[in-house]
Structure formats: structure tokens, C-alpha cells
Amino acid sequence: MPDSLQINHSSPDQYHYDAIVIGSGISGGWAAKELCEQGLKVLMLERGRNFEHIKDYASAKKDPWEFEHRGRVTEAQLKERPVIARTWGKSEAIMEYWAKDIDCPYTEVKPFKWWRSYQLGGRSILWGRQSYRWSDFDFWANAKDGWAVDWPIRYKDISPWYDHVEKFIGVSGSPEGLAQLPDGHFLPPMEMTCVEKDVAARIKEKYEGKRHMIIGRAANLTAAIPERGQCQFRNRCWEGCPFGAYFSTQSSTLPAARSTGKLTVRPFSIVTRIIYDKDRNRAKGVEILDAENNKTYQYSSKIVFLNASALNSAWVLMNSATDIWPEGLGSSSGELGHNIMDHHYNLGASGVMEGYEDKYYYGRRPNGFYIVRFANLFGDKRDYLRGFGYQGGGNRQGWSRSVAELSIGGDFKDALTEPGEWSIGMTGFGELLPYHDNKISLDKMKKDKWGLPVLAMDAELKDNEKKMRKDIVTEAHAMLDAAGVKNIMTWDGGHEVGDGIHEMGSARMGLDPKTSVLNKWNQVWDAPNVFVTDGACMVSSACQNPSLTYMALTARAATHAIEELKKGNI
């Protein structure tokens, strides 16, 4: 166990820090790095176990046949994780990385899939690494549509922070010069397959340059970055990368924070509340429940960064300062826990591309293609608001394909040892509008393993999303057809909120404390030394994967926090 995990509770200075960061995932890691590098003494609290880079990636170097169940999870594992059991995240290699759902249940007023990983690094280990900038189309969307509240920032405010983040984490991608998907600082793009290249070219031609199928922008290192290895194209990222070749807290922000000598990491620390000083309107620190010994500890700090993931950050706020606001810290606006968003997906189209029998590929690309949003942009008006993108891939089929003319036997086996025909498919990722009545609240009747109240989820897709979903399927079919794909099948598997793993909006930013929880620097209006910089802060959802934006907002807020500390404002 590294020194940073040892807290000597008999030493008074172990109880006081300049900053406390709640959570160690994508945004928490960034908060810790930025604050440590600015000279602050930081305590990072993680509710789950410690999880060491490389050493704890237990499966990452196994060959496929070394997995006892060859990738499948057991019935016993499914019983411990009944939520993950309902998702595509159930996989032998990483099943233990997910939170044990039975220890921390939640209430589904409406069906809700909550993918949680309670261990150091959070979902930064498991994430899909897709990294897209948002544009002014997104930061202006609510204002232009007159929907919910306006974003308090524009692209120019976040653009330098996207630069800052991309340079540090490494994002591979191709510059495209698109206003709706701004270019960033890219490492070399990964290559498309032969079929993907031709489909992209045909879509460009058929839609007269108005639709763009590009290679995904992924936080995988296609070129060297100091102290991290390059992508080896094994496509096993979510097991944890022994080469450190994709961005995670462990591979990237945590080593940077630790190298300052200013970081203390405390695992098994469930934050139960932020301690609020009502005379100063400031947080004084936090109270935790040790998940192992069930004892309560308090730590004080000048500032608190809340990065527990969107829904859990709201949970912490709801349980804080309840003597002043019964609904919790940040609830004075009436918006805490409301406006829950996600990206809705699990629908699209796929088909077969004839020919290309003399083409194949080498390596396993941990990335796919991306079709950039076109709906409701540049005059392409639809009967719903906002838009969607697609993610997909075009590959040759493997042994699991069916061989119609063969049943069993030697010829059947030998046929399966060769690659099959090319198939190409894609799923849409649609924007979900912020609705006040899509909300989470505390269910005080139900308790988790530690006796803490749980969240009740009450969110659903509404008419705008339902209309959009019809269009997502129609357009997916139309584009594949235009590109010459045959035997096209479409699907819409439905979407339960949360399943996009992009929960957002539970403590939104805004310009007015009456209608938002956070100001434009991610400070809680009612406690300006508390910063919330994970998905909770989002004002709209756009349709691009949001993690890069969380990172940029976190770095921006951390720098602002340092300035405010220096000025004595917080």
C-alpha cells in the first residue's frame, strides 16, 4: 500500500487539508491533479477499494482461453449485481469492477439503469474513451430553443480548457473543420477499415458533403506521451491497460497528482455529508463513513470538489446542510436532483457489404467510426429539437456467424475458420432534453448496506426523444442504403434512462441562483467553496460523449478556485 493511503488519525494535521476531492473518477482525478499542481494539500476520498495501476488489472494479460467462463459471468455474480445483469457490461473480466448492486440498491420509480464502479479510478477504468468537444451549437441550444435555462458559458470559455486537457490525456482523431464538432489537439487518427472508408466516401457524395462519417476520437495513445505506453491494439481497455495507453485516473491524472507529494488518497470513504458553516456560508469539510469499519470521521478543508458522479454528487448535496435546507445544500433553487439527462441509444441499423473478399485488417482497434450530428443544423429542420450522432463499425464476421448451407461437421468447421462477409452497423446517441420532472430524490424508507438512504430514480424519455428515435432509425437505414449496404436490418431496443452511462444535470450550472444550483464556475451558489464539476453540472446534454467536457470544466473550475483562494474570496 503506498504511503498516500496511510492516514494517521492520531496526528491532528491528518484531519486538515487545503482541498478535499470527493471521488476519484474522470473528473475527480482531474481536480486532484490540478489542485496538487497548484500547491494545495489534497485529500482524495474514494468510497470503494484501492485499485492500483497495472498491479490490480488481474485479467489484462490473460489469453482468452485462460478465462474459466470464456468471458461469460456466472449466475452467482448476476445475483450480486442485478443492475449490471440487465446491461451489456456483464463480462467475466470486469464483473468485479462494478459496484455490488445488492449492497447499494436504489429505487426505480421508473426503470433506470445505473452503471456504477466503486473503486479507485471509478468509471475512468471502464469508460468508452470517446472524446468529443462540444460546440456553440450546444452551449447556445437552450437559449435558442427557449428550453430550461441558458448555459452560463460559451465555447470560447471552455475551448482553452479542452486544449489543456487533450494535450495531457492524449486523444487520437482526425481534424475535420466542422463547426458542430470542433477539432482539438489530436494524436494521429486510427485507420478505418476498407469498407468503412468506402461507406464514408459514399455518404459524403450522396449527401453532398453535408454528412460526415469520421474515425472516432478516442483517448487512446496512437503516439507516445511521457511515461505512458502507446496503444497496442488489443482492444481490452476496460480490463485496465498494462501499457497505460488510454486515459484513466490511474494512468494519467493520479500519477501527476501523486508526483507533487501533496496528495493523500483515502479509499473506503463514503462521504455522508458536506459540513456547512451557516455563519460563513461556506463548507468546513466533510464527514465520511469508513466502509470497512463503519466509523465516522471528519476532515476539514478550505475548498471541496464534489466529483462523486452526477447522481451521487446530488446525493451528497441532498444529505448536507439539511438543518438549513431540508432538501439539502444547493436545493434553494428547487433544481437539485432535477433535470436528469443521459444519452438515449440502443437503436440503429446494420447490414452486409458485398464484395471486399480480398480485404481484411490487422490488430484490434479499440474504437469505431462516428457520424457527426446533422439534424437541426444548417437548415436541416426536423419535427423535434436537437440531434444525434452515430457510433459504429464495419468488420468481417467471425466464427459466431451462422452458415446457412452448413449444419455441423468438418466442412462447417473449416468454413468458420475463415472470415465471413463484411457487416457494418451503428447505434445512435441522441440528446435528451432537460425536464424538471425527470428527477432523483432520497428514498428514506430504503437503506443501503451502511444504513444510508438511497436514491429514487424518476426519469423517462418524452415525446421529443421518441420522435427523434424514429428519425435515428430511419436515417441510419437511409445512409447505409445510400452507401450500398445490403440486407439492412433496423432495431430499437428501447432505452431506460441511465443506460447511456452519461448521467447529467442533477445540479445544473446557470446564471441565476433562483433557477440553478451552480454558478458559471461550478460553485454551489449557497456555498461558493464547494465546486461540483462532474456530470451533475450540465445544463443540456448535447449528443456527444460528455467526459472530455467534464475534464475541461474541472480544470477550469480548479484554476478559478485557486485564484479565489489567493484573493481570499473563499
Partner: protein
């Protein structure tokens, strides 16, 4: 009480193992003991599944068959650990059903049938399962032979032999090329 239970009880009463009990049991198995009586599949059950798997994916000039990958042991592991109760029951009952189908067709158990007979029987069962699976309602049970075939393909192609001899496997590709030439006969990538 069946013969095995009876012997276990005798062993218990005598406070130890009965020498020669296994020989006694195996000597009496023909026409007496059923296949797949419990999830704790016996060595005979495993041998039976090995032969079923090897009929689905036999040794060919280019690669070994499923028996070489211990496909019976693999099926046992997955059925025990990863199958729901109702599917476990279907699988276990299916073993005897398959053997009965052989007896009905050839008047021989599956293990007594020759290679061609085994092949023809499983072709017929595969047709039966396909027809059934195409028509069945979602809540209807899965056909047992569908399970055996899926387990065989999955277990074989993800085994070391399947991945490295029937297919091509590179643990660490090191780089990626999206578009390279392919000529007929080149093996597919294992993953």
C-alpha cells in the same frame, strides 16, 4: 433408491469406501444408468459430451477437433456456473434425449454408433432445433441441441487450440492496419 445411492449408503454404514464399487457401477451401466442424471456430470457424461462436440466440430486436415479441447469439461463448467436452473434441466435431459434419438434411429447408443451415423443423427437434430427455434415463442424453452451446438462452437473457438490452430491469434498486435490484403484460405482472427 438407485444403485449409486444404495452403494453410497452402504459405504456410509461401513464407514468407508467400498473397494471395487466404481468397477461394479461401470460394469452395470449399459441400459441401466441414465446420462446427465445430475449437474455433477460423471466421467461417462463428459466422454459423451466430448463425442457430441467432436461430431459437431471434428478433426479435419487443417485443425484438431472439439474433443481435443476438452469440450465436455467446458460444457460442464458453463452449464453448472452460468446456466439458469431451467436451462440446466433442459441440457441434462437433452443428453438422454440425444442418446434416445440414436437408439431409435440405429438401435445403438450414440457412443456405439459409428462416425457417419453420429454425423447424420446430429444433422437431423440440428435441423430439428433450427425449425423449432425459428417457430418458438420467446418464452418457450430453448432446444437442448441448440445449447450443445452453441457451447461447442464457443468453447472450441475460444480454446487455445481453436484460437491458435483453427484461427489466428496475436496476443499483442502492437499496431493497427484498417485495410490489408486477404487471400482465400487465410485464417480468421480469433479475437
Amino acid at each position: 433408491m438407485n444403485r449409486r445411492d444404495a452403494l453410497s449408503r452402504v459405504a456410509l454404514i461401513l464407514g468407508g469406501t467400498i473397494v471395487g464399487a466404481e468397477a461394479f457401477l461401470s460394469g452395470c451401466k449399459t441400459g441401466d444408468k441414465k446420462l446427465g442424471e445430475s449437474l455433477n456430470l460423471s466421467p461417462d457424461d463428459i466422454s459423451f459430451l466430448d463425442e457430441v462436440g467432436d461430431t459437431i466440430l471434428p478433426t479435419t486436415a487443417s485443425s484438431p477437433g472439439a474433443k481435443d479441447t476438452h469440450i465436455g469439461d467446458f460444457m460442464k463448467t458453463i452449464v453448472n456456473d452460468c446456466y439458469e436452473d431451467k436451462d440446466q434441466k433442459i441440457f441434462l435431459a437433452g443428453m438422454q434425449k440425444l442418446d434416445n434419438a440414436s437408439k431409435a434411429k440405429y438401435n445403438k447408443s450414440f457412443l456405439e454408433a459409428d462416425t457417419n451415423q453420429r454425423h447424420d443423427l446430429l444433422v437431423a437434430l440440428d435441423k430439428e432445433q433450427k425449425d423449432y427455434m425459428d417457430k418458438k415463442k420467446p418464452e418457450d424453452p430453448t432446444h437442448y441441441f441448440r445449447m450443445m451446438k452453441e457451447l461447442t462452437l464457443w468453447g472450441y473457438f475460444t480454446s487455445e487450440i481453436g484460437a491458435t490452430k483453427a484461427l489466428r491469434y496475436v496476443a499483442i498486435p502492437g499496431h493497427y492496419e484498417g485495410c490489408v490484403p486477404y487471400k482465400k484460405g487465410d485464417k480468421a482472427w480469433a479475437t
